[in-house]
């Protein structure tokens, strides 16, 4: 893998060199590798097109999980990544002691409670089964959402970190089962409620606006997605330019249209996220 990365890097340098020669006179073309996940690829395809006009060559690297993109960024195999919420990111870099920084906001994908059986949260019956995603950020987020919907309460001071041990009271004796995030939409036929991440819901053909019976509101700062870079590159001009492109009207309009309201663009400076811990 390392050898391959070096080879790739060499190739990129050669290509970049060629690019520079062809554009003699203007600024040289920079190649930036962006790590992202499947659901965000359409947005990045557009950004790639827009960036080309500014002599930035974006290469999209698609990941299938939420751990590797950060490790690859830290190892220098990619230059930025865009797939994660700020709360997940902060927790991850703290746990692994990585020197990464958020350089811009992207969007928020509000999590929802879905049901085939009920139209309202108040119809939920005693002992009903609820499936929620099991990965740490989403599990905590799902518990907070269930709390907001009035179905459970969580322990005092719970900020979305940790697992089912943080449930303080469960008056309806809901059977909460944590499953793989991709299994939550599939669980709709077997359980009364399913807490589903926005992107998963879309992938499963659900409409987050119409099919959910309860939704997170978009002002939930902790779950705003970010673009991350290595801390030493956080003031890099090219990277800042990419953030600007992400915040352009063209990209925002595309997100609104393409994701049909499931992803809501958030075009704020990183400093906007500073106080997210209080808004949880």
């Amino acid at each position: 893998m390392k050898k391959f990365a070096i080879l790739l890097l060499g190739l990129i340098l050669v290509l970049a060199g060629c690019g520079a020669k062809n554009n003699s006179g203007s600024t040289s073309t920079k190649t930036i590798k962006v790590g992202t996940t499947t659901s965000e690829v359409p947005t990045w395809n557009l950004i790639q097109k827009l960036a080309k006009k500014k002599n930035i060559n974006i290469k999209i690297v698609r990941f299938d999980d939420y751990v590797q993109p950060n490790l690859a960024l830290s190892d220098g195999e990619i230059d930025i990544n865009a797939f994660q919420t700020v709360v997940y990111f902060d927790d991850f870099i703290k746990q692994r002691n990585l020197k990464l920084s958020a350089i811009g906001t992207t969007n928020i994908w509000p999590m929802g409670i879905y049901s085939k059986r009920y139209k309202k949260v108040s119809e939920v019956k005693d002992g009903d089964q609820v499936v929620i995603p099991k990965d740490p950020t989403n599990l905590g987020r799902a518990l907070l959402l269930l709390q907001k919907a009035g179905l459970i309460t969580t322990k005092k001071g719970f900020t979305g970190k940790g697992g089912l041990e943080n449930v303080a009271s469960n008056p309806k004796h809901l059977k909460i089962t944590a499953v793989d995030a991709a299994q939550t939409p599939r669980g709709l036929d077997d359980s009364a409620l399913a807490v589903i991440n926005c992107d998963m819901a879309i992938n499963a053909g659900l409409n987050p606006t119409n099919d959910s019976i309860f939704r997170e509101d978009a002002g939930n700062k902790a779950y705003i997605n970010i673009i991350a870079a290595r801390t030493k590159d956080k003031n890099d001009k090219t990277l800042k330019e990419i953030v600007n492109i992400y915040h352009s009207k063209e990209v925002s309009d595309f997100i609104k249209k393409h994701y049909k309201g499931a992803a809501v663009p958030v075009n704020k400076p990183v400093s906007y996220l500073k106080d997210y811990k209080q808004t949880q």
């Binding site: 089964q129 499936v131 099991k134 740490p136 041990e165 089962t177 793989d180 599939r186």
Partner: protein
């Protein structure tokens, strides 16, 4: 935030129960399906005692299909079937259905290889004594291959323990799932160590038992 170990231990024993339940039930059903599958593969193949090209080839393809599907995809692909069999596709019992399909055909292959080790001369001798096919299977083929079958079933059991960790995807729980959820995803190194050591001990016990049984059979 320090990890709450007082919460962990009850969770650990529940998970242990879930793993034992999943592995024991899946193994039992897989053996009941897998041994006949292995026998049919051996007797219907070319020069087998009940040669039948059609049955052999169809079964061969079916086994290869099930063996090539990644476990998590198998779990999802058979959701309607799982629901039909156990009434739900979520939870520990629901995980048994894909685990059985995954393991039964694997056992079928392993039994096949054990039976193929049986000396052809033994079968010919049985035939010359006028034994029926049924008698050949029960009195010669299976007894001759018993020691090797036990070792191969040990391999299958350990594979099953590994697969049961992935069943956590559908909320099945279990030790492997605890390791992934808290150890891997939540970076609780302590949990990871405890659960992984448990799995290692579990595997060692199964292998030791398998070796012991196989040796005992061989000595007879």
């Amino acid at each position: 935030m320090a990890f709450d170990w007082s919460w962990f231990w009850p969770q650990f024993f529940t998970a242990m129960g879930q793993t034992l339940y999943m592995v024991a039930v899946s193994l039992l059903i897989s053996i009941i399906i897998g041994i006949p599958v292995g026998v049919i593969l051996v007797i219907t193949r070319e020069n087998g005692i009940w040669e039948n090209k059609w049955i052999f080839n169809i079964l061969n393809v079916i086994i290869n299909i099930f063996r090539s599907i990644p476990f998590i995809i198998l779990v999802v692909a058979i959701i309607p079937f799982t629901r039909w069999v156990v009434g739900t596709a979520i939870g520990t019992t629901a995980a048994i259905v894909p685990l059985v399909l995954y393991t039964a055909f694997y056992i079928g292959r392993l039994i096949e290889s054990s039976l193929l080790e049986v000396d052809k001369g033994t079968i010919e001798l049985a035939q010359s004594m006028g034994a029926t096919n049924w008698q050949i299977i029960w009195r010669f083929l299976l007894p001759e291959a018993k020691a090797s079958m036990v070792l191969n079933l040990t391999i299958a059991t350990i594979g099953l323990i590994g697969a049961s960790a992935m069943a956590g995807a559908v909320g099945a729980g279990g030790i492997g799932d605890l390791a992934i959820t808290y150890g891997y995803n939540q970076f609780q190194t302590g949990v990871m160590i405890v659960t992984v050591i448990t799995l290692v001990i579990f595997t060692q016990l199964v292998q030791t038992l398998g070796n012991f049984l196989s040796k005992k059979i061989r000595r007879k």
